[in-house]
């Protein structure tokens, strides 16, 4: 990606389209966080592409003054892969939701993560179908009453991070929908990461699933219930910064600093770059505290790098530069 000489502000990334999400929707927060993150990346505006599928989240590209495509349900990862392979210099973003990514588009989602193209995926997880007006989604909780589960949902949910890391995601971050500063920072780090980055935003839907994440994200409880991990730093949380995580056998355990002789040195230090995802998976699954921040960021070879390397190898060993060389090669014969 070429660096921009022009200096941008968030306004440069705002399109002239009126934003049409419901009042109070976290989607507004995400949009602004993105518009603030992009100027920090030093990427030219014309090199940025947003590809979305279908759903409330997928209106997002219309509001960004970049190149964009509002495509069809679930297919954004496939389309974005084509964009990136056609022009690896572009900064490519997939905007998707829990249904778009993990129900109708589940196959493309896992295969993009497996291949590790340098694409960033922002997953708006609101644990409900919004645009179709209130059916349960693949992240809805068991028992959740929705229009299509009037007696309570009986389908166990996916944990997006768990599914993604199972599909070999090299980068997974989670962030609350009401913490714009952290969100902007995570977007910046995700964009800088070489490889597929997945950012799960816990996005509140005020209409069909209001308060789904309140027990973690409400201002009053956030500090006590969320652990925002940072690479190289001990896993501390709590309003008083007195709680921490240790590994007890094969389980994470919450400890209180100062109790039973526990000190900061005893706590786990976050290593996002571990190749072995075991600990990352535990962090993803943890319900207390709910872990946010960049949980996994394991640097690996990207698909584009592998493809470019193969192409160079083939080119070096080939006698063909023009298609005529191929057409007239091998077993040809003359008719006079």
């Amino acid at each position: 990606m070429e660096t921009a000489e022009r200096k941008y502000t968030f306004k440069d990334f705002s399109s002239d389209q009126e934003v049409r999400w419901c009042p109070g929707c976290d989607d507004y927060v995400i949009l602004r966080a993105m518009q603030k993150a992009l100027p920090e990346l030093g990427v030219k505006k014309e090199d940025v592409v947003f590809i979305s599928g279908i759903g409330c989240s997928s209106r997002f590209p219309y509001y960004m003054d970049t190149y964009g495509m509002h495509s069809i349900h679930g297919r954004a990862p496939a389309i974005a892969s084509g964009v990136k392979l056609a022009n690896p210099d572009l900064s490519v973003w997939v905007i998707t939701g829990d249904g778009d990514a993990m129900a109708i588009g589940g196959n493309h989602f896992i295969h993009l993560l497996r291949r590790n193209l340098d694409i960033n995926i922002v997953l708006f997880n609101n644990e409900i179908y919004g645009l179709t007006k209130g059916q349960f989604s693949p992240t809805s909780t068991v028992g959740q009453k929705t229009k299509s589960s009037p007696y309570g949902n009986i389908q166990p949910p996916f944990q997006p991070g768990e599914l993604a890391i199972g599909a070999q995601a090299r980068f997974f971050a989670r962030v609350g929908g009401n913490t714009p500063k952290e969100m902007t920072e995570v977007f910046i780090q995700a964009a800088k990461f070489k490889g597929t980055s997945l950012i799960e935003v816990l996005q509140n839907c005020p209409i069909f699933n209001n308060g789904a994440f309140a027990k973690y994200t409400d201002k009053a409880v956030r500090a006590d219930k969320q652990l925002f991990v940072e690479h190289g730093k001990p896993m501390i949380f709590g309003k008083e910064r007195d709680k921490g995580l240790v590994l007890n056998g094969l389980k994470l355990e919450v400890v209180t600093l100062g109790e039973n002789g526990v000190s900061e040195e005893d706590l786990l230090v976050h290593d996002a770059e571990l190749e072995d995802p075991t600990l990352h998976q535990m962090l993803v699954r943890s319900e207390y505290p709910l872990v946010t921040g960049i949980i996994r960021g394991f640097p690996d070879v990207t698909f584009e790098e592998r493809a470019a390397h193969k192409k160079e190898q083939v080119k070096k060993d080939s006698n063909f530069t023009k298609t005529d060389d191929l057409f007239f090669s091998g077993e040809t014969y003359e008719v006079h």
Partner: protein, 618 residues
């Protein structure tokens, strides 16, 4: 076939059909293609068709494990792989049983008697040995203990295992056929040298067996005649034998080079289209990007993304895959981006007959999408012109900014024929509508006055940032619009854009007579069989019969109605239940169209066509 006796044991023939049949592991495809390559290099016109089981390694000796390869060579124009066989080479009882009905009575059959064991006869469900029970009396059976003779020929070659020895018996058969048709062994020996570069013992072994077969035939009194098939009169130039799927792949390579674009293929393997993916995956040196996607939808999805970003993007599939791609193809049409979808048709519906040919995806190609969703539909009609139509599909999609479906089928995709090599320099120009620089007051959906095509502004271009999507768009800005009149306007424009392609495609031509009693109509892969049948009818003295073969289906050539009007009767021949004829009836209401349809997974046979034509002429 006209035969001219020159001397007792030597005949000159205009054309000959040879079929090689044996077990999947007997190397029949290789044997057949060696015979056809050698004949092409000698100067014959050729056409070939493989017929192999869908089982990868069917049980040895079984009827469903038979693999066949048919070669039609001629000193005259050859347009099909041939209906009936002049010489059958049967490597085992199952090969004999499954192919006997194709052999012309009185003609030759070479069998490997060593393979006619009790066990193999049982597997082929023979109650008695056909070599002994008189059931082959009406044929000239040449019995040869090929396996033993092969072993004998190789007894002095060191370093060969038993398997390699028995596997080379196909070359014994080829040697015999080479002698019978006065063919040189040189090409095949060169082939061994290249193929077994690192295994010199196999070069020696195969050469020895090929020679042994040749000399055996020469000294054998059982073979009554040898034959010559003189070189055919073909336009001068450099030729090669090409398979339809390879020609398709190469057409795209040429188009990308001519257009100055990189080629992107997003595809998911499916019979009989996978060979296009295989071929294009080889050509990374030309910058070809081939992505074997996770499914059919990702195949077209990635191609749409690549097209948005400025590549010549294609996706390849067969019927069931086209069904899966339907929604995404509608998106590409709505976005008005270039995209070629190749459907190598096979027997349907559902999984149908994957290895057999059919033309039953036409209406799916025309209408298989939600909403008013017209696209350009064209069809290749011979193995070699798959090249031209892949090129043409690319040209149309890039210049008219709308998806193109290119229909081929299993028959021409797997068939091969001589291709007069076309250099990229002599191909027509392709002018993609890509814009590299911002213009003042540019709008994503403003259109060319003549073609109605919009511009192609690709990411990375300063000042042209814009959004596209599957929602209906404002006619100029491309922003989402629910305005009723705008939707109707856009619907009409997208339809008219396709109609105007008529101004850029060639007129429909008739072969043989331009007017008269009967117009034979076909489209796509049936050209060779229809041409051969009408030609034979004409040669028998019938006049007033023309053939109009369609390569352009949507839109139809401008002069279609005029051509139809010049004949008293029209018969539309298709390998489906009457799909193209239904389009013609809709467009040319009031005309009477007779139809001839066949849905057996097989190409038309010459005699069934001629019978139908004669009925209509009577």
């Amino acid at each position: 076939m006209t035969t001219v006796k020159t001397k007792q044991s030597h005949q000159a023939l205009e054309a000959v059909v040879v079929r090689f049949a044996g077990d999947s592991g007997d190397g029949m495809q290789l044997t057949g293609s060696q015979f056809s390559d050698t004949s092409a290099m000698f100067g014959n016109d050729v056409a070939t068709f493989p017929n192999y089981p869908s089982e990868i390694r069917a049980p040895q000796g079984s009827l469903y494990g038979v693999s066949g390869f048919q070669v039609h060579i001629g000193s005259v124009e050859i347009s099909t792989p041939g209906d009936n066989v002049d010489l059958l080479v049967a490597m085992n009882p199952a090969g004999l049983k499954t192919n006997l009905s194709a052999v012309k009575p009185g003609h030759g059959i070479i069998v490997d008697t060593d393979a006619f064991t009790h066990k193999n006869l049982q597997k082929a469900q023979y109650e008695s040995n056909p070599l002994e029970d008189g059931s082959l009396d009406e044929y000239q059976v040449i019995e040869v203990s090929m396996t033993s003779l092969t072993k004998e020929a190789l007894k002095d070659v060191e370093g060969l295992d038993n398997k390699s020895i028995t596997r080379s018996k196909n070359m014994f058969a080829l040697g015999m056929v080479y002698w019978m048709y006065h063919r040189s062994r040189e090409h095949t020996i060169d082939f061994f040298k290249k193929k077994f570069k690192k295994k010199p013992e196999l070069i020696e072994a195969n050469t020895k067996v090929l020679n042994a077969g040749f000399y055996f035939a020469e000294t054998l009194e059982l073979i009554p005649n040898s034959y010559t098939v003189a070189p055919a009169k073909m336009p001068s130039g450099t030729y090669r034998i090409i398979m339809g799927n390879t020609a398709t792949a190469w057409g795209f390579l040429a188009a990308a080079e001519k257009a100055g674009l990189e080629l992107f293929l997003g595809s998911y393997p499916i019979t009989p289209a996978s060979d296009i993916l295989h071929e294009l995956a080889k050509h990374k040196h030309f910058g070809v990007k081939s992505l074997q996607a996770e499914d059919e939808i990702a195949g077209i999805g990635s191609a749409i993304g690549a097209s948005f970003a400025g590549d010549l993007a294609i996706t390849t599939t067969s019927g069931p895959g086209l069904a899966l791609k339907g929604e995404a193809l509608g998106l590409a049409m709505m976005l008005e981006l270039p995209l070629v979808v190749v459907d190598v048709q096979r027997g349907g519906p559902s999984t149908g007959l994957p290895t057999k040919t059919e033309q039953s995806d036409l209406l799916q190609a025309m209408y298989g999408r939600n909403g008013e969703s017209p696209v350009i539909v064209i069809a290749a009609s011979t193995p070699a012109n798959c090249f031209n139509f892949a090129y043409e599909a690319s040209k149309l999609t890039l210049e008219h900014m709308t998806p193109v479906i290119l229909l081929t089928d299993g028959y021409i995709a797997n068939g091969s024929a001589p291709w007069k090599i076309r250099s990229v320099a002599e191909m027509p120009d392709i002018k993609p509508r890509i814009i590299r620089e911002a213009k003042n007051s540019w709008h994503p959906y403003e259109r060319d006055e003549d073609t109605l095509a919009r511009d192609w502004a690709v990411p990375g271009t300063y000042g042209l940032e814009h959004r596209v999507g599957g929602l209906e768009k404002d006619k100029l800005s491309g922003q989402v619009s629910y305005v009723p009149e705008n939707h109707e306007h856009m619907t009409q424009v997208r339809a008219e854009k396709i109609e105007r392609v008529q101004n850029y495609i060639p007129e429909l031509e008739t072969v043989f007579d331009d007017e008269g009693d009967l117009l034979v109509i076909g489209w796509g892969g049936t050209y060779g069989t229809l041409y051969a049948a009408v030609k034979e009818l004409k040669q028998s003295g019938v006049s007033g019969v023309g053939l109009a073969h369609f390569n352009y289906i949507n839109p139809l050539p401008k002069n279609t109605e005029a051509v139809l009007s010049r004949f008293k009767k029209i018969v539309v021949c298709e390998l489906n239940n009457g799909q193209f004829v239904s389009i013609l009836r809709m467009k040319f209401n009031g005309k009477t169209f007779h139809q001839f349809n066949k849905v057996q997974g097989l190409p038309f046979g010459n005699s069934e066509l001629i019978k139908k034509f004669k009925e209509l002429l009577a």
